[in-house]
């Protein structure tokens, strides 16, 4: 599987996600925000974590209008895979790849800690290595992770089972330990064709026991099998 990791000015987790992809056997190339095309043969575009353009004015807003994003939208329109993590999820929403917006955390503070998630479905390219209903422990590190959308969109996301992950506690209770106030404890959502996934938590930082756990490996292993 060939993954293109995009770097915007201010992106800072491109190295972390590249490491996780390589560990899962993917071929990784880095693309620059000012390029007009994606690298040849790209199966998966990754919008990594960070503070693109300093998160100024609105997280992901400026990056979402970079040249490369036209190529990313075209890639997604053709059925290509796109994974947006944290800042990448914010960029994906601002770029129209996914609905809704990530607003300031309800507690108004940046939060970095371990976080349990419930895997809502495992029949997608991103989660086939998990079991539906799995409780996994990854980490979060964000100040604007409060997922908000209008009622219409929320109904469709739930009705079409496009919620990928929900925040929960160790026992899987999704009414507990919501770190930012997201509607319905939403931590990640899919596009209609299930080929674009945006998520606030960082699976790429939980791929080794040495640094806290391996529950994040499943996502990258799934991608390895899918493409």
């Amino acid at each position: 599987m060939h993954a293109a990791v995009i770097t915007f000015p201010g992106t800072n987790r491109e190295g972390d996600v590249a490491r996780a992809l390589k560990q899962a056997g993917a071929k990784v190339t880095h693309a620059w925000h000012a390029d007009y095309e994606l690298p040849k043969g790209t199966d998966l575009v990754v919008l990594p974590g960070g503070f693109a353009y300093g998160d100024y004015m609105r997280t992901g807003a400026i990056a979402a209008r970079a040249h490369i994003m036209d190529a990313v939208r075209a890639h997604a329109a053709k059925g290509g895979y796109v994974l947006g993590i944290c800042n990448g999820f914010q960029v994906a929403c601002e770029a129209g790849l996914l609905p809704g917006i990530l607003m300031r955390n309800a507690g108004l503070k940046f939060v970095c800690r371990m976080q349990h998630l419930r895997v809502e479905r495992n029949d997608t390219a991103f989660t086939n290595a998990y079991t539906a209903g799995d409780i996994i422990k990854v980490c979060i590190a964000h100040g604007e992770g409060n997922y908000i959308c209008d009622d219409e969109t929320l109904k469709r996301l739930e009705g079409e089972a496009r919620v990928g992950f929900r925040y929960c506690d160790a026992a899987g209770d999704i009414t507990k330990e919501n770190p930012n106030g997201s509607l319905n404890a939403i931590a990640g959502i899919y596009s209609e064709n299930l080929r674009v996934l945006g998520m606030m938590p960082h699976p790429e930082n939980l791929i080794e026991t040495l640094v806290g756990g391996t529950d994040g490996k499943g996502l990258f292993a799934s991608l390895g099998k899918a493409a």
Binding site: A141, H202, I207
Partner: protein, 657 residues
């Protein structure tokens, strides 16, 4: 033309620049004429406490700075220490105490931004940040505002820049009510041959201005750092320096790229007194003159005078001596990253520091003497009187030990600081092997197996009670914390925060603390490779607790073999290393439970510290221990409680007596 329409240099103007009359006379004698206003501004920055270390230099010289691993000691932007396999670690600590009291958010952000630049200007990529914070009492009216501002500022900068903030201290004491402390530390790694210094070489080499544009930020920021605070400090609002972590991330990537492409001869970050200190030091170290044309300096405000440009402390700026044939390549890299790149002058063989602006010469000064001839004081100091010891027999227990334990665990200094460090991204870069909350943070270097341990420590109550023993204890505790995670301590940096050196008793605290630090550093083979001095931390004549923060770095050959403090298994035996003598002087128990801080602090036996450290490291290396914790504030009871809580396991302790 020279000396055209210069304002008259009056005694009031000299005083406003923080120069004593005799210091001004010394400067006039040096240059043989009345200085221009720009020259007065330059010397006021070069000769203030912050840049010249005039009250501390003779004492700092007594500290041990050599060692088998030391590549660069104090004098460079950061200390550089060899860690084997052609790699080095660069680190330093600096304070931003006064700006943070006036504007906590920006004071903290610019503190973190400045120390990060000190590391990557050496060519090292930052891999960890730490911070030591001291605030007033929790219920003091300003404390809440200062704490939220400083913590948000540190997180706001470090998280965006993309370096994990992994360790530090947060303490509260009434003596910091009017004067908080914000000490920031950064640690970076590099290949040894990729290290750059600030020494210019070669005549006629272009001097290049890199990074963000210049504004009127923080003019007199450097001199303010040495200005005592009084209640009117709210009015005395210099234009506050504003940090831009986004610009700093671009500056990091652009600088590392031009360094890798061989464009750089010498490079220096613009810190306190911006262009002035960086340009003078760059020339003086290389025995070269510097000529600058300020018309070429990228400014973001119109009509800035030479004076303002030379003293501006706008953030995210660097100064570089460029290989001339590499100009186009270096400029293209800076354009790619959206940053300014302007040739603003060149090196000369005149040993003069010449500043031109609008066709006029605004300054023409002897570059070597500007630094070397700075005043150096051997200020009078009085030795603090020794206090008598307080033993456990001397103190009736006001409440039961069980209640005392809970009260201590809940006290502001000893309680969990998760509420602080969870606002810092401590997981980015995916190499955080041990997170905050332990004795030291442990960071893997690239893909391992090597790793670094890092921590910062000091117990200000001890230093107040006996600066010599307190100084020794700060170094010893830092050394112990590194050993406790299984790392070999290799070098330390320090941030010496003290009151007004013109008061003999404060100067006495400073001198004795440095002696203590030096003795411990020598005995533990733990050299001082960088540091910072922050004096005049005093409000309305009341000084802070003497706070020599010690920042240590240790090496783990195999990072998978680090130890943590959490109890792991039921049934493990608990072993106490070292003799328990029941010292209570200046202890957390006396302060929190008995409400006073009398008595002498526990004396530090450096031989025992050294041998205990080696034993503990060997036990960890051989996998013979499952948990290790150093005992410090609160002693054995708090130590055991922390191990139990971290491991979610209980503990049965025999009765001692």
């Amino acid at each position: 033309m020279f000396l055209k329409n210069e304002p008259e240099i009056t005694p009031e103007l000299v005083k406003a620049h923080g120069l004593k009359p005799e210091e001004y006379d010394r400067f006039v004698a040096l240059i043989g004429r009345t200085p221009t206003i720009t020259e007065l501004g330059i010397v006021s920055a070069m000769w203030n406490e912050h840049c010249s270390y005039k009250s501390s230099k003779i004492h700092l010289k007594t500290l041990p700075t050599k060692g088998k691993r030391v590549v660069y000691g104090p004098g460079e932007n950061a200390g550089v220490v060899d860690i084997g396999d052609g790699m080095v670690v660069a680190f330093k600590m600096e304070s931003h105490n006064h700006p943070s009291y006036i504007e906590p958010y920006q004071g903290a952000t610019t503190g973190v931004g400045g120390i990060l630049r000190d590391v990557f200007t050496m060519g090292a990529r930052p891999i960890a940040c730490l911070n030591a914070l001291r605030f007033g009492e929790p219920d003091h009216p300003k404390t809440r505002h200062l704490v939220s501002g400083v913590v948000a500022g540190i997180g706001g900068y470090g998280n965006s820049f993309g370096v994990p903030t992994v360790a530090g201290q947060v303490g509260f004491h009434p003596r910091y009510n009017g004067n908080i402390l914000v000490n920031a530390m950064a640690v970076g790694v590099a290949k040894r041959e990729m290290i750059f210094t600030s020494k210019a070489t070669g005549v006629g080499m272009p001097i290049v201005y890199l990074g963000s544009k210049t504004g009127r930020d923080g003019i007199h920021g450097a001199t303010m750092a040495s200005a005592e605070f009084d209640d009117k400090s709210e009015e005395k609002r210099p234009t506050v320096q504003v940090g831009d972590p986004f610009a700093e991330k671009l500056l990091l990537e652009a600088c590392l790229e031009i360094m890798a492409k061989g464009c750089v001869i010498a490079i220096q970050d613009m810190g306190a007194a911006g262009l002035t200190c960086s340009a003078v030091e760059m020339g003086a170290k290389g025995d070269l003159g510097i000529e600058l044309d300020l018309d070429k300096v990228p400014c973001r405000e119109e009509g800035m005078s030479a004076y303002e440009m030379m003293l501006s402390e706008s953030q995210e700026r660097m100064l570089m001596v460029l290989h001339p044939h590499k100009e186009a390549e270096a400029r293209a890299i800076f354009v790619k990253w959206g940053l300014d790149f302007a040739v603003i002058g060149h090196t000369t063989d005149t040993l003069r520091f010449v500043i031109k602006h609008g066709g006029d010469v605004k300054a023409d000064l002897p570059i070597k003497e500007l630094g070397d001839e700075a005043p150096e004081y051997d200020r009078p100091w009085s030795e603090p009187k020794k206090r008598f010891a307080i033993r456990k027999g001397d103190v009736p227990a006001p409440i039961s030990n069980a209640e005392a334990l809970l009260k201590l665990l809940g006290s502001p200094d000893l309680c969990s600081k998760r509420w602080v460090w969870e606002q810092y991204d401590h997981l980015i870069l995916g190499n955080t092997v041990q997170q905050p909350g332990g004795d030291a943070a442990v960071i893997r270097i690239e893909d391992g197996p090597k790793g670094l341990a890092t921590t910062c420590d000091v117990t200000p109550r001890y230093v107040e009670a006996d600066p010599f023993e307190g100084g020794k204890q700060a170094v010893a505790e830092c050394w112990r914390n590194l050993c406790a995670v299984g790392a070999e301590p290799i070098a330390l940096t320090d941030n010496l925060n003290f009151g007004n050196p013109e008061r003999p008793e404060i100067m006495g605290q400073f001198v004795m603390a440095i002696r203590g630090i030096g003795e411990a550093a020598r005995r533990l083979d733990f050299p001082v490779v960088s540091g910072n001095v922050s004096l005049y931390n005093e409000t309305n004549g009341q000084g802070i607790l003497p706070t020599p923060t010690i920042g240590g770095v240790g090496l783990l050959e195999d990072v998978t073999k680090s130890a943590s403090l959490a109890f792991k298994n039921v049934g493990d035996a608990i072993v106490l290393i070292g003799e328990t003598k029941g010292w209570l002087g200046a202890s957390a128990y006396l302060a929190t439970i008995c409400g006073h801080e009398e008595g002498a602090p526990p004396p530090v036996d450096l031989d025992h510290e050294f041998h205990h450290g080696i034993i503990v490291r060997q036990l960890i290396e051989r996998g013979m221990v499952t948990a290790v914790h150093d005992l410090s504030d609160g002693g054995l009871a708090i130590g055991l409680a922390e191990m139990a809580m971290a491991g979610n396991l209980g503990a049965m302790i025999q009765d001692f007596d």
